[in-house]
Symmetry: D2
Subunit: 385 residues, 4 copies
């Protein structure tokens, strides 16, 4: 299992596999293979060297414990990965060994791999988002006429419909995902600049290698390396954090509706969910709780990332190297919140009678007093941005 | 002066005027006037009532101390503002007094006013951003061939040009401002929903009043009220925080270049800037320091905002009401950082000879060994997104 | 009024007076007076010069707008304050003017004044804390036998007593205040080091001046200046943030108990509190909301302060200068939360019958099934640390 | 290896072992064993049942993948751990299986285990702290007379000694560790309260079981369970974050001194440290960088923890469950920073001649102009708090 027990409430299985040791190492090795191929293509290194590198670049042959330990000493996983790959290549082809990682710097591989991992995460998240949007749309339509209390500052206000409430969640999540999506696209760049970001070691062939490498990895080739400019990544992480916040808002609403004294909705439970170790009869808002917890982790992680973007000169001393664990934490927060709320939305129980009776208990005006609720609901559903 | 002494390093004069007591109060009163006009236009209230309201809505007639104190008691500045306005209207026209704020809720005015203040701030920031971009473009062109050390982890790496370094700052700031601009546009919505966000008090005329009010205020009319969905605001504040971070990165680079032992660049100083109370001969990187300080404040403020977006039901109990001071802090951080770095960029002294000699002192390869530096520089300048 | 409208929900009147422009300026001027007296006492400057300085050091004679504006340019309020004071002294005594601020650096005055302001805040907070503790003790005793639902994950659990719940709040607040108090005491140090923190300008009389100055200001004299070591301040602000968090927890509990569907407790309201601009009959948990909002602001402010403690060499470039506004924000958060919850505790309405009926509605075991609740309650009350 | 590759720069080996899956699970199982023994001791369950539980409580027999997966579903690792333990016990003794976890709730085990893990971390950290303090004391004594530039805002100021600078680091770290130590002691409490924190299931024997359990686990027995009061933990984590910040300040100073243009000090390097994948000759401040990166992670993690302490009623819905991963991140940040700076301090190279020549290059006053530097240095060393 790629999730540690200490992180058991803070990671989904699907994302943990993307961030697993073997998968990250293989992605790093694939970068070196792609670099060698690109350089062979442009004529910087021999084609045979590229083949030898590709052949040796198999994660299962590497000693992971040694790699992790050496990474901390080196201050980057890139150095020991390259060293171990060189050693593996050397057995077959000494000349090829000497051109492993040619012209690249540690941050080239570390950043490019991070982008590739993030793009894999995008697939996982996007699939769940689409299902969640569908489920919320269905709920909203189904409860277009289900009258319930509006509640402000946790006090009864004028009536709304549950359909409007669900449409509000949906619209925020759609807007949120639109931002996330465009930030993923904005960030999908190769990192490749060499020691100082000038590709100096490649002379006048830097741009061509860069383009070939981007093509190999199916990434966009940036105007220039972006080692010390983390704004695109920051914007992506901010978008993910905000999206997670909108999931947390939906989760908090449902956890509040699930209160025994309110009893207007309930998450599905089942299959080990919702239980209590001391009171077996209890039905806890476990999935909502996981989403709330995730939404409480994202803000501080994002602030850590932002505090780190003041990076010194061409490569910072600390800000950059602090990123991997933080980025992973934010993506996992989004993942846990999303997976949890998808389950909630697809299995939500709504007690329309209780909604009505709670409303009536406040002795307010007529339940027909709904103003523009239905117009707002339909508008929110229609805009599928 | 609208800036308090305790905040003297954390606020610009121009933005402080936007956030000044009188200006905020007048903007609130203008909302009530616009609402009355919109409602008169649709026939909800008499035209004469709207005129009476408009006439009484003059900030200079209000007791500001009383308003501030009453706001804390009410938990919102809206309630005492409306009460004081009603009292003022009542003197002239008792019927008009009874329709002040008709159909609206506290958050309608508070949020709409916040959006309006933010859009005013946008003008101030945008003007400075454009000038800063021009200054950086000029610096980059002027120093296209100024060779200097690349520095990674604060250690000498291969050479770059100062033109490339400046182009890197510029490109990050342009990307940053593009995001800020689109988030301002995304956020430029009226808030108007009444007690529960359904405009119930306006019956079937809610949408028409809403549209008329948006037109009065020159804001977009949203699909639905967004009282408890703060994602658009969060995205704007995140964009501003990232932009501030990019300014902070530029400031940190320059402060490091200004070190006596490095001596490659210097901010302008003059007019009370750069001095020391104990060593009059000293030339401090004061403007850079202000920008760095601002960039260190934005992350935690943003995390506060994000932590607050988990808002309960139709109006949260704490998350929302915590926003004003936080939003203002983020905008001011951007403003101080921008104003400071504009001054730095427009008056920057560059010591190309020192750049050259610091490079040569590292006994590295030829200064012609610049790889694709110039290609990257030109590409970064060209993309004017 | 010292509180700005934009901060109206984020500041108490009592603390705003401490952080008011005039009061801060006078405290800065008092520092210069005390310094002059200490230096005269040790024989560094003439006694007449100290008298002239003391006479000119009157805040009401200073142009506050000019001071605030000049502070931003100088990057510190110390430089213009000293300049303006020198000018004022010069009119009477040119020689005295030349020894104003003798041997001191900007950070000496700025930090010492901050400590003095904080110690004034301590008095305000402490008085409220003591009253709050008394009120909670009374509530706990009164409701020692008031059975209510325990609630976990917002779901019904086994019964507790309201007395135990109140005792839990009280014990956390007492522990919290004990930490706050000891951190205030730990931080109550003079800052006095001159340009590099060696008191070089005072030759071999630095220590004696330092001790005389500390005595003048009624502060402890530290082992050494602490310009770049902010750990004591950080520890104080962390303690205040945690204390604010415990107030926020109490506020959230009560806001949840105030829900219409729960109805077990209510904050007092009255005098402009608890109202709604759209629904006059509504009784909002306004004071609890203010405390929750405050508790949501403290964490990010604290993280900003902590991110700033990585200060370069003998005086940082940004981290330090970012502090004033942040420190004030944290203290005000504590102040608003405390003042609000004091009002709540002193006027809390408890509906013991509703507590009982909500418990019974869950058809659980006997209300006598309270285990060690009363033992725990008594123990919590007894420990008055 | 217990550290994941994604976290390779953010975790030490020693602490990762404490937070490893097997070790955490065994600590959880030991809690259940200790609980059973305590309950057998008081006569709540048969002695034979306690023995059967103890026998089955072996982490190596548990399916870790299943446990992690089930924990996410249950929203806590406690429920599946107890279930799996029950199943294991049941094979030998069905009656014993039914009393596993008797009277306890999920949070009892999760919190107690967290405290136990933290106390193990304390040992690791304390050993390193003591060595670091010794190394800094030695450096300070050795360089009592090594004159160097004081630097403020990264500009040259009056001279100091390197001995004074090192004494400043040491004093901050000693104060920091004193706070950490007292917060560890303050937090070393058993958590044991059952479903609602009243130990209801144990009738009048709750206190006795509680005391026996605390004795079994060598923890203090609290006045009352503290499920929803996280202030003690928060205070510990704040102290650790501040201590990490002081390490980061030392690291930043040294990284700045290591700049090629400054060249006054250097961290040791060797054994894979300090290298570059693109420039083999380069000597990077790798250990300092790791410490700076760690100090940049702590603030946001702490703010997440603080934002989570507003916990609802007797057990929160999200705030609490978010803690494990956050707590671990803060402790690891402290651990990485400490281990790194210990290596730096024990192997630091100081170039006193360069310090002197950099000072002389500023053409300032005499290097004897050191004021009270040596007095301050000695005072800082003497106070061994």
């Amino acid at each position: 299992m790629s999730t540690r027990l200490i992180d058991c409430l803070a990671a989904t299985k699907a994302l943990s596999e993307i961030f697993s040791d073997r998968h990250i190492l293989q992605t790093m090795l694939n970068f070196e293979t792609a670099l060698a191929r690109a350089e062979a293509h442009v004529g910087v290194i021999p084609v045979a060297a590229a083949s030898a590198i590709a052949q040796a670049a198999a994660a299962q042959d590497f000693d992971m414990d040694e790699l992790v330990e050496a990474s901390l000493r080196a201050g980057t996983p890139a150095i020991p990965t390259v060293q171990m790959l060189r050693a593996a290549v050397h057995i077959q082809n000494a000349e090829a060994a000497s051109v492993v990682h040619w012209g690249a710097t540690s941050q080239d591989i570390v950043d490019t791999v991070l982008i590739e991992l993030l793009l894999e995460c995008r697939q996982v998240l996007e699939k769940d988002h689409r299902r969640l949007a569908l489920a919320l749309e269905r709920i909203s339509e189904e409860h277009a006429n289900t009258v319930m209390l509006g509640r402000t500052l946790l006090q009864p206000a004028q009536p709304i419909t549950f359909g409007l409430k669900a449409a509000g969640w949906l619209a925020a999540l759609r807007r949120g995902w639109t931002r996330v999506g465009s930030r993923f696209t904005e960030s999908a760049y190769l990192q490749f600049g060499g020691a100082s970001g000038t590709l100096a070691a490649l002379g006048d062939r830097g741009i061509r290698v860069s383009e070939a490498l981007a093509a190999e990895l199916n990434l966009k080739c940036p105007d220039a390396p972006w080692h010390a400019h983390r704004d695109r990544l920051a914007a992506l992480l901010a978008a993910l954090s905000i999206y997670t916040g909108s999931l947390g808002k939906m989760a908090l609403d449902i956890a509040l509706l699930m209160q025994h004294e309110v009893g207007e909705a309930a998450e599905p439970g089942g299959n080990g969910r919702g239980g209590s170790s001391s009171m077996p009869h209890k039905r806890n808002p476990t999935a909502c709780m996981l989403a709330i917890a995730a939404a409480k982790r994202a803000p501080g992680l994002l602030s850590n990332f932002l505090a780190g973007i003041l990076q010194e000169h061409e490569r910072g001393v600390g800000g950059w190297q602090s990123e991997w664990t933080t980025v992973q934490g934010i993506v996992q927060a989004a993942g846990v919140a999303l997976e949890s709320m998808l389950e909630v939305a697809e299995g939500l129980t709504v007690d329309a009678a209780r909604m009505r009776s709670n409303f009536e208990a406040t002795s307010q005006e007529s339940p027909d007093f709904l103003g523009s609720a239905e117009i707002f609901r339909r508008r929110l559903l229609e805009k599928k941005d």
